[in-house]
């Protein structure tokens, strides 16, 4: 929220102008949206505003773009849509932002207040619809309330555990005259997120760490949201214990760091999964014991005590009992924990050498890898790995959802926070392209690659038109295996290779390069390993237009390792019907 008093304070204006002045006062510099009848009064003052409005081709694109923008900048992303279908098209991105704790403010128009409840044209109860997955939402029918509600919306979205807030404004509230008054303070009796952790919980955590012999840092996306990566690295190096970073935390700790065991979970590394399973202490920082990480909960890390640090008290004990709960901002938590741990270690320095040797042995014995296709066709993992290598560690990557997403999390080395954006909790196919658009707007000097699937790409590629027309030169790699690849993998493994409705035939239709060209992008294709690097380099050389590369890859590649849904992490497979050779490991 801007600290200064807006010059418009005390001025008479329409509710619509008040809305736009409020967004300006909240510090908004860009919003993604698409107008329609109910929100139309707001679009007139938008025409004159300093806020850059990017006209999307589908409201879902606006929502994911706002999410991508927010994940890259750390500021709230803003999307705007009209009533009815415009608003309901924001439902998926809002649910997505809620699951991944992304600060997004959505503005929707509503039918005039006298028409609410009459099944009016383009009427939808969007406040009711979005209650389950917004942090809070509003229906405004009095124009005088607009500045206060907008100020509250940004405050709620960006503080505590971040999340989406929706503000639905009736058309007559936009049209009526009001006096603009930006609030000087925000008072919400029912909202007071606890930021500073209790000192007792910090000293309890430090004592527990000093007593452990097999500790592991279980790092979640909260560390990135709190900008706590530098503090995390300091804390880790003081203790010298292994680290795992969840799908939402890739980049929170450098992949190249020797203490990094990789990503845990359903497609995690053997070392990361085993580190959690065999630990005697989980130092959980901004993570939430998601089922994709724990596997079958009753068998998860059964010998481990748990320190659970999270800003959301409702996460403590939700899935797993916490022996020490630390409620607060994770940056403040780690900052307080560093001296406390140093003091505790001065009294009792645990010997972690055996534990580290065991984990390093697993890390070197079971690195992530893949076989090249025997028929000489393109390997999807290799495509993604080479894009990562050639574009470098300052590149921002987004992904859709499925095999390509898992490979992008596995085979690209993330060294910095906010360089890996994906739909973790919601698993929203189609997230990749619009999120890349928002990321590029938020970080215009960065190279932004969307690693997408041929299925995902066909859900939201229309935003490439938006990119082409608005000078948002993203790069898109379609990992085209002509299938809904992850679903097909499950059919291979669990449904006797009966491929019901997972074949997309997308090596025949659509012609992706022609589709890209039709949308004002450069379209490239690659289907031979010998052309791979030069195709990526060609895409890297084009920076004045969006680029789409159709990588036509081998169809049968699978994501490994894998912990099948509902099974124990102890059942991790490194290839089909192949478990790690536990007997050769001293565990």
């Amino acid at each position: 929220m801007a600290q200064h008093v807006p010059t418009a304070n005390g001025t008479e204006m329409t509710g619509a102008t008040s809305l736009v002045k409020s967004l300006e006062a909240a510090g908004v510099d860009v919003m993604f949206g698409l107008p329609g009848g109910a929100i139309l009064p707001a679009y007139d003052p938008i025409y004159d505003s300093t806020i850059r409005h990017i006209l999307v081709r589908h409201e879902q694109g606006a929502g994911h773009a706002a999410t991508g923008y927010a994940q890259v900048t750390g500021r709230a992303g803003v999307c705007i849509a009209t009533s009815g279908p415009g608003a309901t098209n924001l439902v998926t991105p809002l649910m997505d932002a809620a699951m991944d704790s992304v600060p997004v403010v959505a503005i929707t128009g509503q039918v005039p207040s006298a028409a609410i409840g009459t099944d009016a044209f383009q009427e939808a109860d969007i406040r009711g619809i979005t209650m389950p997955f917004t942090k809070h939402n509003y229906l405004v029918t009095d124009p005088a309330e607009i500045p206060g509600v907008i100020a509250e919306a940004f405050h709620i979205a960006t503080t505590g555990r971040p999340g989406p807030v929706l503000v639905d404004v009736a058309k007559d509230a936009l049209q009526k005259m009001t006096t603009f008054n930006w609030p000087t303070s925000i008072k919400l009796a029912g909202y007071n997120p606890k930021v500073r952790p209790d000192s007792q919980s910090i000293s309890d955590a430090a004592a527990l760490i000093a007593q452990s012999s097999k500790p592991v840092f279980y790092v979640g996306g909260g560390v990135i949201k709190a900008n706590a990566h530098a503090e995390l690295r300091q804390l880790v190096e003081i203790l010298g214990a292994p680290v795992v970073t969840t799908l939402m935390a890739r980049g929170a700790f450098p992949d190249s760091h020797p203490l990094h065991m990789g990503m845990p979970g359903m497609h995690g590394t053997v070392a990361a999964v085993t580190a959690l399973q065999k630990a005697d202490l989980l130092i959980t920082l901004g993570a939430r014991f998601d089922d994709r990480v724990t596997g079958k909960l009753s068998t998860f890390a059964v010998n481990a005590k748990v320190i659970h640090a999270d800003i959301d008290p409702a996460e403590i004990g939700k899935n797993r009992h916490a022996d020490v709960a630390v409620v607060g901002d994770v940056k403040e938590t780690i900052t307080a924990l560093i001296p406390a741990l140093k003091a505790a270690l001065a009294k009792n320095q645990p010997d972690l050498s055996t534990w580290l040797r065991q984990m390093n042995s697993l890390k070197s014995t079971y690195p992530l890898g893949y076989d090249l296709p025997e028929d000489g066709s393109l390997s999807p993992q290799q495509v993604i790995e080479r894009i990562g290598k050639i574009s470098g560690s300052d590149t921002i990557f987004t992904a859709g959802v499925g095999q390509h997403q898992m490979w992008a999390s596995q085979f690209i080395s993330y060294e910095h926070p906010r360089t890996w954006l994906n739909s973790g909790g919601a698993g929203t196919m189609g997230y990749g392209v619009p999120a890349a658009m928002g990321a590029k707007v938020g970080a215009p000097n960065a190279t932004v690659w969307a690693i997408d699937g041929d299925g995902c790409f066909q859900m939201t590629n229309q935003e490439l038109v938006t990119c082409a027309l608005n000078n948002i030169p993203i790069k898109v790699a379609i990992i085209n295996n002509e299938s809904l690849g992850m679903v097909r993998q499950w059919q291979t493994l669990f449904y006797d290779s009966r491929y019901s409705n997972t074949s997309l035939d997308s090596k025949r239709v659509p012609n992706f390069p022609m589709l890209a060209e039709a949308m004002g992008c450069v379209g490239l294709a690659c289907d031979r390993p010998e052309d791979l690097d030069k195709t990526i380099e060609k895409a890297m050389s084009i920076n004045d237009q969006p680029v789409v590369v159709d990588f036509r890859v081998h169809r049968d590649a699978m994501v490994w390792p894998m912990v099948a849904a509902g099974t124990s992490n102890d059942e991790i497979m490194i290839a089909r019907a192949t478990a790690p050779d536990w007997d050769s490991q001293e565990l």
């Binding site: 389950p132 809070h136 555990r161 029912g190 909202y191 007071n192 606890k194 800003i311 409702a314 004990g317």
Partner: protein, 97 residues
């Protein structure tokens, strides 16, 4: 039938605003918490309403019900007023978010 089914009564102060009943009822529904009884009435402060909620805790801890309830911005405070319960869950500030 599970044997550890426990009854609790919560006194919840909420903002007196449209939709607040839907927020509370919807939370119980989507988190699979059980409401046995629900009573809403006014308080001396016309901007605040009081809900008396009978909760059957089954498969969740009471702490989890209270913590989720307290995440609702419209919820101001929550007290466990179960007749036999000695402890009072003051939501300032541990359960605030």
């Amino acid at each position: 039938m599970t044997t550890n089914r426990r009854q609790h009564t919560l006194e919840v102060l909420v903002e007196n605003e449209p939709g607040v009943l839907a927020r509370v009822a919807g939370l119980f529904s989507r988190r699979a918490f059980n409401i046995e009884t629900l009573n809403v009435g006014p308080t001396e402060d016309s901007s605040i309403s009081k809900m008396i909620i009978g909760v059957a805790v089954e498969g969740h801890s009471l702490e989890q019900v209270i913590a989720q309830l307290d995440k609702l911005v419209s919820v101001i405070s929550i007290k466990d007023v179960t007749p036999k319960a000695q402890e009072v869950h003051d939501t300032q500030p541990d359960y605030q978010n």
